[in-house]
């Protein structure tokens, strides 16, 4: 079943936040095995969610442009709502 935009974005927000927070933690605890395991578990999850989002709703990063469902005949980077418009739900 295809996820709607809001729930997919929420999943991206959650896994990305885990990566942000773990990055700061690992900056001061670089040898923590649990921290490293959580970090490496989250990375591929984010990668695949970004790809899934790009295929249905457009790219969130420039690197995601190539992950659109089919190659677009115009530039897709500025398509979709700006994050500050609150239209990301």
């Amino acid at each position: 079943m295809m996820k709607d935009r809001a729930s997919l974005l929420r999943e991206i927000d959650e896994v990305s936040f885990a990566i942000n927070d773990l990055t700061l933690y690992l900056d001061t605890h670089p040898d923590c095995r649990d921290g490293l395991a959580a970090f490496h578990a989250a990375l591929p999850k984010r990668e695949s969610l970004l790809k899934e989002y790009a295929a249905s709703f457009g790219p969130l990063t420039v690197d995601c442009i190539g992950k659109n469902a089919s190659p677009a005949d115009s530039f897709t980077w500025l398509d979709g709502p700006a994050p500050w418009e609150g239209g990301m739900f």
């Binding site: 974005l9 700061l24 001061t28 420039v62 609150g86 739900f89």
Partner: protein
């Protein structure tokens, strides 16, 4: 180098126009303990930080502060985008409105414009890290003051997220300071000027 990601770190979706609230939270954009000041502080300090790991931490926290600035700006934008001139006048937003309409401009809630004197980059690792610890506590206090006086749940949720991040950043800077102190000359009983300690490890 930075890459933009087209989403906010935490969702901001404010339904009710309220220039009064905007005029208060704008302090976390351009005020003395705001996110612009936080970001510039850490991103400026990192070059001369003698410990490579702490320079990396400053980069990562300084980057997150840019995302916080974006959240605060999104909140101000959503609180004012549908205001009428009458709203601006009665909500005490009129002076700002005259100069900036509903555009974003960094200032403190009391009207003092953003100023680089709000942060320091001293070139001394202990001085800089203790400034960073204080900055996180001051920003936490500001968020707590805002949360006490703003009732709208749409505004409170992102403010509570941002408050929690101040706590985490304080913790990480505290760990960085402990790490730095363990690398000082053991004969240096007072923690000062590690930049001039040539034997300081670059790790």
């Amino acid at each position: 180098m930075w890459n933009y990601e087209k989403r906010l770190q935490f969702p901001v979706n404010i339904k009710n126009c309220c220039p009064k609230t905007a005029s208060l939270i704008i302090s976390q954009f351009g005020g003395p303990d705001g996110e612009l000041s936080a970001s510039m502080r850490y991103l400026a300090q990192r070059y001369s930080m003698p410990c490579k790991k702490i320079g990396g931490l400053l980069t990562d926290i300084g980057t997150e502060e840019l995302a916080h600035m974006e959240m605060i700006c999104a909140m101000i934008y959503q609180l004012t985008k549908n205001m009428t001139p009458e709203d601006a006048r009665t909500a005490g937003f009129d002076a700002y409105y005259v100069d900036h309409t509903s555009a974003l401009w960094p200032t403190a809630a009391a009207g003092v414009p953003f100023n680089a004197c709000e942060f320091q980059s001293k070139g001394d690792a202990i001085a800089d890290l203790t400034e960073d610890l204080a900055a996180e506590q001051k920003a936490r206090t500001t968020y707590e003051n805002l949360i006490r006086i703003i009732p709208d749940p749409d505004v409170r949720a992102p403010l509570q997220f941002l408050r929690a991040r101040e706590l985490v950043h304080f913790q990480r800077f505290g760990e960085a300071l402990e790490h730095l102190k363990s690398d000082l000359d053991s004969k240096n009983f007072y923690f000062y000027n590690p930049e001039f300690d040539k034997s300081m490890k670059k790790a």
